[in-house]
């Protein structure tokens, strides 16, 4: 049995609770890191993390990139998107193809 969770600031992730997703509000990067690692140990298969939180702990997130589970997905927080998720997609393309063929130089902010 696997679980789904969301990490982020309290205001962004409040709504997810109503869907039955477990929410973990965090204040700073250190707390986020600890929460994330706890979640991985506790059998969370899908972890959404707001970009505002994710941007400070990218090394930790990248560590799980090559594993099948957990799936860690950045989502925009309520302050708008930082483009972190799209950058991730772009990076994946660049690694596989060797060049960015998907965005064709279009600005990914």
């Amino acid at each position: 049995m696997h679980r789904i969770g969301v990490i982020g600031d309290k205001d962004s992730i409040l709504g997810f609770k109503a869907l039955g997703i477990e929410v973990f509000s965090v204040e700073d990067a250190e707390e986020a890191e600890k929460t994330l690692e706890n979640m991985v140990v506790n059998n969370f298969a899908v972890i959404y993390i707001t970009e505002q939180t994710a941007k400070d702990i990218t090394p930790v997130i990248d560590r799980y990139n090559s594993r099948t589970v957990p799936v860690i997905i950045p989502i925009p927080g309520n302050q708008g998107t930082l483009g972190l998720g799209m950058q991730g997609v772009k990076r994946t393309v660049e690694r596989a193809v060797g060049a960015d063929i998907l965005f064709k130089g279009e600005q990914v902010n």
């Binding site: 109503a18 039955g20 994946t92 596989a96």
Partner: protein
């Protein structure tokens, strides 16, 4: 090019020829694998991009809705309303295999949606805006899960492509040239020794003939 450190013997030659065959076959197979992976990957990553754009837009809408809610409801009441979710969610993860890459497949079960919808609160004490934003979030959610699956698959595939490409290149530009060069070196060396053997034999034959000739001459003199 570099030549392997081997003895130029016939046995070594057959061994290397066998290795070259295997390397060529492996190279072909890996190249096919790389191409197929790439095809699958491009499909996935296109979908990934579209889906992410869609999900991000929908999420922003729902955040905007929640912000509206906040403006008409005290935030304590809002938190209280959402404190105990009625909806239960269970996730089942299985794995499927794309070109020898294990990718997760996420099946989620939304327990029983009881009457009154998914709202974990009474409708009397909350505003209508909250219902709308929760509805929106509920709508995004399947897309969000699909995004998780596709994005992870794309990530894993890209890692595998990188690995496969490296192997293909190592075979194509290092191992195979090295093997062909070594094989050439051994054949040349063997040919050379054969030639030297031949000349030696011819020389010996000459010497022996001369000897026989000399002994015959001395016999006839007697």
């Amino acid at each position: 090019m570099s030549i392997m450190n081997v003895n130029p013997t016939r046995m070594e030659l057959t061994r290397l020829r066998k290795r070259l065959n295997v390397a060529r076959r492996g190279h072909k197979l890996l190249k096919d694998k790389r191409d197929e992976l790439m095809k699958k990957f491009l499909e996935l990553v296109r979908k990934n991009k579209e889906l992410r754009e869609k999900v991000e837009m929908m999420l922003m809408e729902s955040y905007a809705g929640l912000l509206n809610t906040r403006s008409v409801m005290p935030s304590e009441a809002l938190e209280e309303a959402l404190m105990f979710p009625k909806q239960t969610l269970s996730l089942d993860v299985t794995f499927s295999n794309i070109m020898s890459v294990d990718v997760p497949v996420l099946n989620f079960n939304t327990g029983d949606t009881a009457e009154g919808g998914i709202y974990p609160y009474g409708l009397a004490s909350t505003s209508g805006e909250l219902d709308i934003s929760i509805d929106m979030l509920w709508e995004v959610f399947p897309h969000l899960l699909e995004l998780a699956r596709i994005e992870k698959s794309a990530q894993l595939l890209s890692l595998e492509i990188e690995k496969t490409r490296r192997r293909v290149n190592a075979l194509e530009y290092v191992l195979i040239p090295q093997l062909t060069d070594t094989i050439k070196y051994i054949t040349m060396k063997l040919d050379e020794s054969e030639r030297s053997n031949l000349t030696r034999l011819m020389k010996i034959k000459d010497m022996m003939l001369e000897q026989v000739h000399a002994s015959k001459m001395s016999e006839s003199e007697v």
